[in-house]
Amino acid sequence: MIVYLLRRFVTMAMTLLLISALVFLVIKLPPGDYLSNQIDELRAQGDAAAAAKAEFLRHQYGLDLPVWRQYLAWIGVMPGPSGFSGLLQGDWGWSFEFQKPVNEVVGTSLGLTVLVNIAVVVFIHLIAIPIAIYSATRQYSVGDYAATLVGYIGLATPNFLLALILLFYLNRWFGISIGGMMDPRFANEGMSWAKAQSIASHLIAPVVVIGLSGTAAMIRRMRANLLDELQKQYTVTARAKGLKPLPALLKYPFRMALNPFVADIGNLLPHLVSGSVLVSLVLSLPTVGPVLLQALKQQDQYLAGFILMFVAVLTVVGMLISDLLLATLDPRIRFGKRG
């Protein structure tokens, strides 16, 4: 087990290294960088002093170095203009756009992103699993058809559209503003009970909007999985022992049907970070998504690089978690045999 974990950690590190190289390469692919673009602009405006200052900054941040030197300095295995100071040392770099260190730019939004997305994951599972169980055990009943219909509508509705509709009608009918993460008056306050309440009430709409298609997809897949498992002989065996229908369902077929979802956790985490950009824009949520979009457009390289690396780390860690969970849930994987 320990050997296995060590092996996994080594492969994870290799994967992340590879991803970091790719990420940096992709960000640097367009010609120029944030500062050189700015310098061009300033020169065009004839502001030589500002241009000279930018030129100085460019040197200061090592943007005039070759790409590979920049990369190695960024991850922290080579000294940059200010010594060893890269991701490995915990220095996430400088955002040119915001004129702040990256950790200050994304610090709060990362927390909020994680909060929103955990809420979404919980929401998806809480809603989808009971509905899926209901419709699998009552296949072709009215309720099943209704759930299926709602599910398809959920799948087919674009998130941002739903967000716009909600934004408009909730405000019009109930006078609620659902944009943002909290009431603006709490924005600069410390955490308090009232602030938490405000955040919670503002969470509802984004969670529903972001989670709807996921819920619909999960209902469909869970229902299909369960239907397969319900046909299996061991389900009949459980009933033949005299188990009540619901415990029999939860203990045997349901547990089997969970496997693919556990295996999905690795994909779920990063998708939730990067997948809700549109909705976050529409609802003006201060999550990482819009920041990433902006950073990519402006070639704010350290900021974009950091966010992409963050997503990559989430993916890799998510994969590890799902593999470990699978092994806990399914003894066949633990012992490496098929049965």
């Binding site: 296995y4 009949v236 009933r239 033949a240 045997y252 633990r334």
Partner: protein, 638 residues
């Protein structure tokens, strides 16, 4: 037909279960399906009632109805199932209970227990055997964990597990099929039920394991006095297990009575036909099985068969000294590797126009051998040679066009007719595919060839446009055979071609194979675990165990004079549908005969120390005995 109890001479107590005029219906896609139509029978305490019938006869549906475990589309149309609990309480009519109510749940697992055909799928792979076995006890007697574990260990010991304590934490996939079925039996018996319903309990098992499980059920019945309802299609099992017999056909009872009457004086034509369709050991060499529906081979189609067989008697395929070892990595977390010797020093030759039978239990290496012959994998050592008319040549040296010609000449018929045909291809596509792959003929010629092939296996021309799902198991197997015939092969490897089929259909397929052989001079390697079937088909039989051919002889010699302890055990374990040849249960329960290290000298084989060698004990009769190993080679294989 009233049951004739007079023969027993005793006033019987009231039956445990009385089923009267039971009808079960299903909502099918094409309207109501009457799966069971007015069935009546009784099951008595301490006795075994066997329900015999082919698939689709309604026997399993009847059993499921007795526990109200029918699928959602099924329901009891009319009739009663009265259960009288011998431990007291008023008789209950199960047919009137709520299918998911408390009443039936108290009976399920507590008073009436059920074991199923597939021990592989009847247990959940995610829960330990201990958990699943004690579950019924916890539900019905509300005991705590410690008591439940203790009782489970007692039952484990009773059903023959050597280490009962370990079984509590063992997962089903760590057990062999026979062991899983024992676990199922333990699960069924832990609450000491009054009635055990066994739905094809041994169909998926090897013969020796089957004999052990049957012996176990018999023994437990003697101890507990429970009634047993045994559902099976195997008349051999029935002859050895049943006190009374009910024969079902298309949802109705055709005949019922005591075992003696049924076997000595079968009345109903269906039963008589069924009995004639079962291969027996005492058949004359030229005797033919009589299937209920015989297949006519289209004589005109035979004319187009272009295969020109070798002169009879010449060796068409020869396997010599083939050894194959697999390396397993056991577990992602505990990276141990394990070497398994799948085949060791196997030699076999198939004379043209004959059938060589290969008998062995699961895991004996039969499939590995056929894969090596097909050139789907290579052996570690040894050769496979094939004669296409120009003399024997090493199959593994063939390249390019020669290899392609070999692929055409050696074809395969699979065991499972359901998964070996692509459900998305029509019969025409399935049969024409090999022709297309090998670029034979234009589309008109291919069409003609497919028509001929269907004629060969006795299927109607109109089947061409249909999909496999609309055919029965036997018909699908015929399509599989037609596909194998498409390229005019000279050798066909038949891997358990009838083990998934009913006896009457099995007789059809076996006769068809024989007819095609007689007409086209085909050679077969016929792999099966069913000795009677191999006996019917093959002229030469090889018995395989743990990758070693232990005995090889002409058919008559092998059955008359088996020398090897494994062959003897195998023969003793086959239940014969003949009352005068009962199974010797006391012999089979000993076990150990499939472990080469436990064979009596001089047959003892200890991996790594001894090497199998074939010794000719009588003309053409070879038995495997131990010889000193060429040390380094065998040590690696252990």
């Amino acid at each position: 037909m009233e049951k004739k109890d007079a023969g027993r001479g005793t006033a019987l107590q009231e039956p445990l279960v009385s089923i009267r005029d039971l009808a079960v219906e299903f909502d099918g896609d094409a309207g109501l399906v009457h799966a069971v139509r007015g069935v009546s029978f009784d099951v008595h305490a301490g006795r075994t009632l066997a329900v015999v019938g082919e698939s689709g006869s309604g026997k399993s549906v009847t059993a499921n109805a007795m526990l109200r475990l029918l699928p959602r589309r099924g329901r009891i149309g009319r009739g009663s199932i009265v259960f009288r609990d011998p431990s007291g309480g008023a008789p209950v009519d199960i047919a009137t209970l709520d299918a998911d109510g408390d009443g039936i749940r108290q009976l399920r697992g507590g008073r009436i227990a059920m074991i199923f055909q597939e021990p592989m799928t009847s247990l959940s792979p995610l829960h330990t055997v201990g958990d699943q076995v004690t579950e019924a006890l916890v539900i019905h007697r509300k005991v705590d964990r410690a008591v439940a574990d203790k009782e489970a260990m007692a039952v484990f010991e009773r059903v023959g597990f050597r280490d009962p304590k370990r079984m509590l934490t063992t997962y089903p996939f760590e057990l062999s099929g026979g062991m899983r079925q024992r676990a199922m039996i333990a699960m069924a018996l832990i609450c000491k039920p009054a009635l055990l319903i066994a739905d094809e309990p041994t169909t998926a098992l090897d013969v020796t394991t089957q004999a052990q499980i049957l012996a176990l059920i018999k023994e437990l019945q003697r101890e507990t006095g429970m009634g047993v309802l045994l559902i099976t299609h195997d008349l051999g099992v029935v002859a050895n297990m049943a006190d009374e017999i009910v024969v079902m056909y298309r949802g109705e009872v055709m005949e019922r009575g005591m075992r003696e009457e049924i076997f000595r004086r079968p009345q109903h034509p269906y039963l008589k036909a069924l009995m004639r369709a079962v291969p027996r050991f005492d058949m004359r060499p030229d005797e033919r099985l009589t299937p209920i529906r015989e297949i006519k081979v289209d004589a005109a189609a035979l004319e187009h068969g272009a295969a020109k067989p070798l002169p009879a008697g010449r060796t068409v395929l020869e396997v010599s000294g083939v050894t194959k070892t697999f390396t397993l990595r056991a577990g992602a977390f505990f990276g141990k590797t394990e070497r398994i010797s799948a085949l060791s020093n196997v030699s076999l030759s198939i004379p043209s126009g004959t059938t060589v039978g290969l008998v062995g239990e699961s895991g004996s290496g039969k499939t590995t051998l056929s894969k090596i012959i097909m050139r789907a994998m290579g052996p570690d050592t040894g050769t496979v040679r094939f004669d296409d008319g120009a003399g024997l040549r090493d199959v593994f040296a063939l390249r390019g066009a020669e290899l392609k010609a070999y692929r055409r000449a050696v074809q395969f018929v699979f065991q499972d007719p359901f998964s070996s045909l692509d459900p998305r291809m029509t019969v025409y596509d399935i049969l024409a595919e090999p022709l297309r792959v090998h670029g034979i003929g234009d589309s008109d010629a291919q069409f003609e060839r497919v028509k001929d092939l269907l004629g060969l296996v006795g299927l109607d021309q109109r089947s061409m446009r249909r999909y496999p799902h609309s055919f029965s198991g036997g018909q699908r197997q015929r399509i599989g055979l037609a596909r194998a015939m498409a390229l005019n092969p000279s050798v066909i490897l038949c891997d358990e071609p009838t083990s998934a089929l009913d006896v009457s259909v099995q007789a059809q397929i076996l006769n068809l194979l024989k007819d095609l052989q007689a007409a086209l001079g085909l050679s077969y390697l016929f792999v099966s675990h069913n000795l009677a079937v191999v006996d019917y088909m093959a002229s030469e039989i090889a018995v395989m165990c743990r990758g070693v051919i232990v005995e090889q002889a002409p058919r008559a010699t092998l059955f008359r004079d088996p020398r090897h302890p494994y062959t003897q055990a195998l023969l003793a374990a086959v239940p014969s549908p003949d009352l005068d040849h009962p199974l010797h249960f006391e012999r089979v329960v000993e076990g150990g005969f499939s472990n080469p290290a436990e064979w009596a000298p001089p047959f003892t084989l200890i991996p790594g120390e001894t090497c199998p060698a074939m010794v000719e004990v009588a003309p053409r009769h070879f038995v495997c005995m131990a010889a000193e190993a060429p040390a380094p080679l065998m040590r690696a294989a252990s």
